[in-house]
Amino acid sequence: MNEFLQWCDERMSACQQRKQELLRDQRGDEAKFEQIRANVYGIYRAVYAALSNQPEALMKKLHAIPAAWEVSLRLAEEHGDTEKAHIERIKLATSAEIMQEVPHD
């Protein structure tokens, strides 16, 4: 399997494991944050798997993914919506981490 896809799978699996641990520890909101991280890895994985043979389209699509989250974060901050802002920051931080791992060749 492609290295990047494997890396995504490992990250998703780690998130799921942390989520289960947090749920067992009665930390529901933090478990939800782990699920959100896992979903972000899942989104990038799916896009990469679908477009890995079209490098230009792939990079364009990957860079477009966080755009909606940036807008959503700005709106949440403007309206003092702390919970939403926190969730959008998690998505953006995960997205930035993933982009470091995307093969650029």
């Binding site: 520890d25 009665q26 930390r27 909101d29 933090e30 944050f33 309206h79 702390t82 919970e83």
Partner: protein, 186 residues
């Protein structure tokens, strides 16, 4: 403490991280970074939990020279659980609470940050949205059609539908002089 306040508090407390934050604050007032270090959580996660605790009145904040400090609102925890479960629930109040909860659910589904995401297809839901939009109109004032359009366009591009439905729902009336809120004309 009302029943809904008690429920919100218990729901908020049913989380180990938040309970640990309260235990720390029971010892002394603390700022976010200190709590983060003590509880081995990130500062944003602590802020997230503190916001939830503040919303239910369990925690309050105050500013010092360098930090925003957080303190336990111990008075919230004084009533015993027995006192809370013995409090009577008034059925009329409960009905009103259910209506208000439904109204809030519709508003949060269809509106975000003061904008209308889409116009509900269901009459009952659209009525709730229209009642909310009606608040943008001053009581007793007569508006031209253009003014009504400008106000409604702030919420949704399809202001014509909204304007017509305001009339259809008898929330506004119109004549040759313009439009006005019905409730204030009675």
């Amino acid at each position: 403490m009302t029943e809904s306040e008690a429920l919100a508090l218990f729901k908020c407390l049913a989380d180990k991280s938040r309970l640990q934050i309260l235990k720390s604050l029971a010892m002394e007032d603390m700022y976010v970074e200190r709590l983060a270090e003590r509880l081995n959580l990130t500062a944003p996660t602590i802020s997230f939990h503190l916001k939830k605790l503040t919303d239910v009145g369990a925690v309050r904040s105050y500013k010092t020279q360098y930090y925003t400090m957080y303190a336990l609102c111990s008075e919230v925890f004084r009533p015993s659980i027995m006192e809370l479960i013995q409090e009577k629930s008034d059925e009329a109040d409960l009905q009103a609470q259910r209506d208000e909860a439904y109204r809030q659910k519709v508003l949060s589904s269809f509106m975000q940050y003061g904008k209308l995401k889409s116009i509900p297809a269901q009459k009952k839901k659209e009525r709730i949205i229209l009642e909310e939009l009606l608040k943008a109109f001053e009581p007793g004032r007569i508006y031209t059609e253009r003014e009504v359009n400008i106000i409604l366009a702030d919420y949704h591009d399809d202001f014509c539908t909204l304007r017509r439905d305001m009339i259809g729902e008898h929330l506004m009336e119109r004549d040759k002089n313009g439009y006005w809120r019905v409730d204030e004309q009675k």
